[in-house]
Assembly symmetry: C2
Homo-oligomer: 229 residues x 2
């Protein structure tokens, strides 16, 4: 096992995955600047690799590339937020339906373990990790459905949902209703596709309803408030 001391140089995909995880855990939040030099130094790689990674993330809608300005973590507009959840409403119920019909015992176990980890993270106060696991749960369902193409789409949507939640989530009390995931697990275990589809649809509606997507039109005065305190 000595070969493990040699740290294989991270590839562009690996760095993109690391950054994606950081977004999922809200360690990097919308609006943050991702300077090529900083990212490169953080991972110990050159700018060329970082540039490739940023291109991947831009293609997934996680960062926006501004010419001669740099890369910034995307800040989804209210409109984009709605679009993301409309797309999820189109894809995920059908995917859950398929997953319920294909789920094998090993898959059920994996999902159960997933939920357990989510609970544990919440208990430990690791809100970011819990949120990440919550998203992974949806991805896991897509994987069980065995539809690679749709799974990749859902991956993108989960990532962008993390950004949406970072911007528009209402209460600071995390408390991601994981009982919805429990109910989904039950439906998948019993192979009830219609039930799984309905549960997923309701789950997404719930999530959407937790967002504050009203048009603020006045986010700038926050500066005055910040200085007034």
């Amino acid at each position: 096992m000595l070969s493990h001391v040699i740290a294989d140089p991270p590839t562009a995909e690996r760095i993109a995955a690391r950054l994606t995880d950081a977004v999922h855990e809200h360690r990097i939040v919308p609006g943050m600047k991702l300077a090529e030099d900083e990212v490169g130094e953080a991972f110990g790689v050159g700018r060329a690799i970082v540039r490739q990674a940023l291109r991947i993330l831009a293609q997934e809608g996680l960062v926006t590339l501004e010419r001669n300005r740099g890369a910034f973590v995307a800040q989804p507009s209210i409109r984009e937020a709605r679009e993301v959840f409309e797309a999820r409403a189109l894809l995920e119920p059908a995917t859950a339906h398929a997953a319920a019909q294909r789920a094998r015992p090993a898959d059920i176990d994996a999902l159960a373990a997933h939920i357990a980890a989510e609970h544990a993270a919440l208990a430990n106060g690791e809100a970011g990790r819990a949120l990440n696991l919550s998203g992974q749960f949806h991805i896991e369902i897509a994987r069980i459905a065995d539809q690679g193409t749709i799974e990749s789409f859902i991956r993108q949507l989960i990532s962008r949902s993390s950004l949406v939640i970072a911007v528009y989530w209402r209460r600071r009390s995390a408390l991601c209703e994981s009982h919805a995931h429990h109910a989904l697990l039950d439906a998948l275990r019993s192979g009830d596709g219609d039930e799984a589809s309905d549960l997923m649809k309701g789950h997404l509606v719930d999530l959407l309803s937790q967002l504050d997507l009203r048009d603020h039109t006045a986010p700038q005065p926050s500066l005055r408030e910040a200085l007034a305190e």
Copy 2:
């Protein structure tokens, strides 16, 4: 207007778009090698830009990047071909439904012009261009539906469908039944969402049925046949 003589240097996105068009028109076909030097020379840019463009296309599933080997136009497997059309079946009927409800007269005119161009291309024997326009028709419907996120997914699926068609299309007689597009146009004009949804669903089923997705298991003997002639 003299500023137009100065050819602005193509950006990575522009080159990716040009290559995507070439794929749509079957000018470059699955399996082709896209050497960085060749592509760079073709567009008059350096390898760095080409590399970014190839990364974009890889993210869209149009090319596969093999380490230290190069970039190749993706060759969708039978499984991937099915997945692409399953995803389209999930997204496009609902999108057509929404488009029927939002379509404005200008949109209808644009679609009609699109169909006319498609007919003209077919009449001129420009099969590649006709196929490209046929795909653009679907993208146009997504644009009318005004769902940017879903539109980007459909864009990817159209591109990958071009690859699928290039590999698995049955008869050489192109004859993309554009009467299906005509019927869709009528449904959109009359604002009948359910009809548009059904037509789109049937259209996709028709397309899928035109593919030969049987498991050949013997594509290699073609070499012998090729040499035998």
